[in-house]
Symmetry: C2
DNA sequence: AGGCATTTGTGCGTATGTATT
DNA sequence: GAATACATACGCACAAATGCC
């Protein structure tokens, strides 16, 4: 959404657009914590929408912990600690600045190391046959779409999601959906490294086979191997891009 | 907030109240997924508020993934998969039904086992002296308030939060705030077991000391011990309450 | 300490889009 | 396929509260 729309029909709803604009500005620090936003009428005018749209967008952001409103004082940006970073919207808005992006990817990696091996083990213990089937479907999609960057990443994410579903925990599944947007960036980065996807496929297959033979420890180990290689790919790509930066 | 307020001043803001009422109803299944809510004027009338309050509350809930609005079709409840269960508000609304409560506590336990030992290790590696001090403060509050059920639990939660803060990951901190509402229920249950709190204090102290001497493995081990005993306390309380149920 | 300017809160009338008939 | 009814989307006007002078 532009700062001022000029007659084009809204592909997305108005409040969603306003929420995204404000959310991005807050995430990138243009409105820093403890500062007050422009007044609602000002924002409405600046964005070319009615005040109600602004109010509803503000309420959405307040629900995500980004804002707090009080009379007379205005709309105040909350400190970072109050933000619900596990909200997919907020997460995607936060990926704007490159340094925040890099840091979030590191933190994602830590979180994956804590959770995914255990999830694989859990899946090995509890997966139903139909859940195994669904995971094989996702794996086959990864193989089939290996040359399409977007589709292969979609399939990859779907694979991990199915694994979480097999672990049979709504809480864990919510954690996954929260960081799946980060996962997409992670995969996109890792796949810049050539040949990464081939070994990646092997590792996914190993996890899946361990799950199917109900080998919890084996599934966890296979997942750790997958994560190790993923981390290595990321490191390699980063080193490479830093090298290119230095050349220029 | 009652279904109809009768003149008392709003302790909480109006839209927050409406959002909570609707959120609870959705969480407890009174408005099941794919069903449509009553129309905005109906809701506004039924709740004794203006349409704008309803609209802003709906936008809040939509931001949490519970609702989707479209013209003419009305306000539709999203399927569970779309819900952002890691939102603290939604989590607390979901604790209404006892079976959901028990299941969420089990899932919380699994998640803690995956995350907290690693967080303790991370804290041991990265905690600054002032962060250590903050953790000691929280620990001392636990000791001081050991006879006050509410205050001791607050201090306990604060202790764990400070540990997460020391681990220095915004992502992990968000995970913590998400499940801290579950943690409260967990602690409240565990403390029904007499004498639980005494050993609990010892275990917290052990974690803290390991962190302070930068012993990552020791901190993780101490945290695992803490979690083991916490799980045992929960099990004991559950067995006890089931026994009482059987007696009656 | 008290009035006042300013900002969010609240409620309703109108516009717009969409599924149904 | 076009008219129509219905529900959300939108914008304005007024109320209330609260920080500042």
């Amino acid at each position: 959404m532009k700062d001022r729309d000029s007659g084009e029909q809204p592909a997305t709803s108005r409040v969603a657009g306003v929420a995204e604009v404000l959310g991005r500005r807050i995430a990138e620090g243009r409105y820093p914590p403890d500062s007050t936003l422009p007044t609602e009428p000002e924002l409405a005018d600046a964005l070319g929408v009615g005040r109600n749209a602004v109010r509803e967008a503000v309420k959405m952001l307040a629900g995500k912990g980004l804002l707090r409103t009080s009379r007379r004082a205005g709309t105040i940006v909350q400190p970072h600690a109050e933000w619900n970073l596990l909200d997919p919207d907020l997460l995607s808005w936060s990926l704007g600045s490159p340094q925040a992006r890099e840091r979030l990817l590191d933190e994602l990696m830590d979180l994956r190391w804590m959770i995914e091996p255990e999830v694989a083990a859990k899946a090995a213990r509890r997966a139903t046959t139909v859940q195994c089937l669904r995971m094989w479907e996702a794996f086959e999609a990864m193989e089939r779409e290996r040359d399409d960057p977007v589709a292969s990443i979609d399939a990859d994410i779907l694979f991990h999601r199915r694994l979480f579903e097999a672990a049979d925990s709504r809480l864990l599944l919510s954690v996954f959906t929260a960081f799946s947007v980060l996962l997409r960036v992670n995969f996109a980065t890792a796949n810049e490294h050539d040949n990464a996807f081939v070994s990646n496929l092997e590792e996914h297959k190993a996890v899946l086979e361990a799950v199917q033979r109900r080998d919890a420890d084996g599934a966890a180990a296979a997942m750790r191997k997958l994560l190790t290689n993923n981390r290595a790919d990321i490191e390699r790509v980063r080193a490479q891009s830093r090298g290119e930066m230095a050349q220029v």
